[in-house]
């Protein structure tokens, strides 16, 4: 649920209005965050990355996995809830 409250700018600046924390993300991170906010599952996000960028499925999967791990570490995402 935390993802839905985040304010995400097109430049990749992310602000959490509840904790006051801010983050910056790169283009891929921004893409993943926006898709999560739209309610896409991690698997669907990997597919969306494959459609959008010229990367291998393994690379896309690894990127999504790593990014989600980062979100988990910051307490911003839990698979069961988001």
């Amino acid at each position: 649920m935390k993802i839905s409250r985040l304010a995400i700018s097109d430049e990749g600046f992310v602000f959490d209005p509840e904790t006051g924390n801010s983050y910056t993300v790169n283009e891929t991170g921004l893409f993943i965050l926006q898709k999560l906010k739209e309610g896409l599952s991690p698997t669907a996000i990997v597919e969306a990355i494959l459609e959008e960028y010229e990367v291998s499925p393994e690379e896309a999967e690894r990127d999504v996995e790593e990014f989600l791990e980062g979100l988990r570490r910051f307490g911003l995402w839990r698979e069961s809830h988001d």
């Binding site: 304010a7 602000f15 209005p17 509840e18 904790t19 006051g20 924390n21 307490g75």
Partner: protein, 342 residues
Amino acid sequence: MIKVAVSGINAVDNPGPGIGIIKGLREGSLSVSVVGLAYDAMEPGVYLEQLIERAYLMPYPSEGEAPFLNRLLYIREKEDLEAIIPALDAELPLFIDLQERLSAYGIKTFLPSKEQFRLRAKDRLPAVAETIGIKIPATLVVTSYEEFSRALSQLKFPVMVKGLFYKALKAHTPAEAEQYFHSILAEWGFPVILQEVVAGEEMNVVGVGDGEGGHFGLVTIKKLWITSLGKIWTGVTVTHQRLLSAAEEFVRAFRWRGAFELETIVKDEEIYLIEINPRFPAWIYFAVGVGVNLPERLLKAALGEEPERESHYEAGKLYIRFTDDFVTDIQIFQHMVTRGER
């Protein structure tokens, strides 16, 4: 034109709340003329003539009630004072005791009761936190050296060593804790409070209780940068619903009257109460700047008017403190030293 006196105009590295309060009053809808109450001729507010029309030196509260009241009555006579917003912990007990007499002289205040003021004692915080549905870090209150030694073995380091009302020092080792225990004991006496450190987000709520269980606005902020004295230098507004609810419960349960600040640590889903301040914090202008002019609302309440109650503000507004300087004549200092006023 409403003549209002404000104290805490010591805008130094550990700033008093006065200047922020005054900026709020000046930006509000009421037309005000401000009298600054200072305890030292060097307090910067004394020299800020664009914010403070007149300034007076006050006797220290420790000199007792009579000189304090006499001085206030002298100022009232000279200035036609209608209200006072006291902003410093040390003077609040006197103002609370004097509020009825001041009111009889036509000087209005809007202060907590004596009993409410006592809630800020660190040994009362566990009960307050429980009442408003939040936690406090593991805490032991000690009243002897033996209890202190026993307490150390029951707490995880680092621990905060605190006086009942003031001072908090972070100890990383038993030796450090013992050193701080003795220094706080020498300065403040027993009880000494030992408290585990909770790592999390430092969030504070400021508000004004109406004395009947409601409030005239609440604003929640997070400190982003603090000075070596622990004072906010940069902050950001947040909308933490559970913290706002806890603050609402605080004013409801204790029927809090007047300004207050709750200092908390938020860790994951838990909120820990660290301190209650029975007055505005020094960063009170932050609330004004995001559209919740608490100083003016408090002044209206003191004058018997009905203040606004909404507290809509945006999350993500930044508070920036900065240093500034200016040059002025020595006459102001001279007047303060020779006449006690300017």
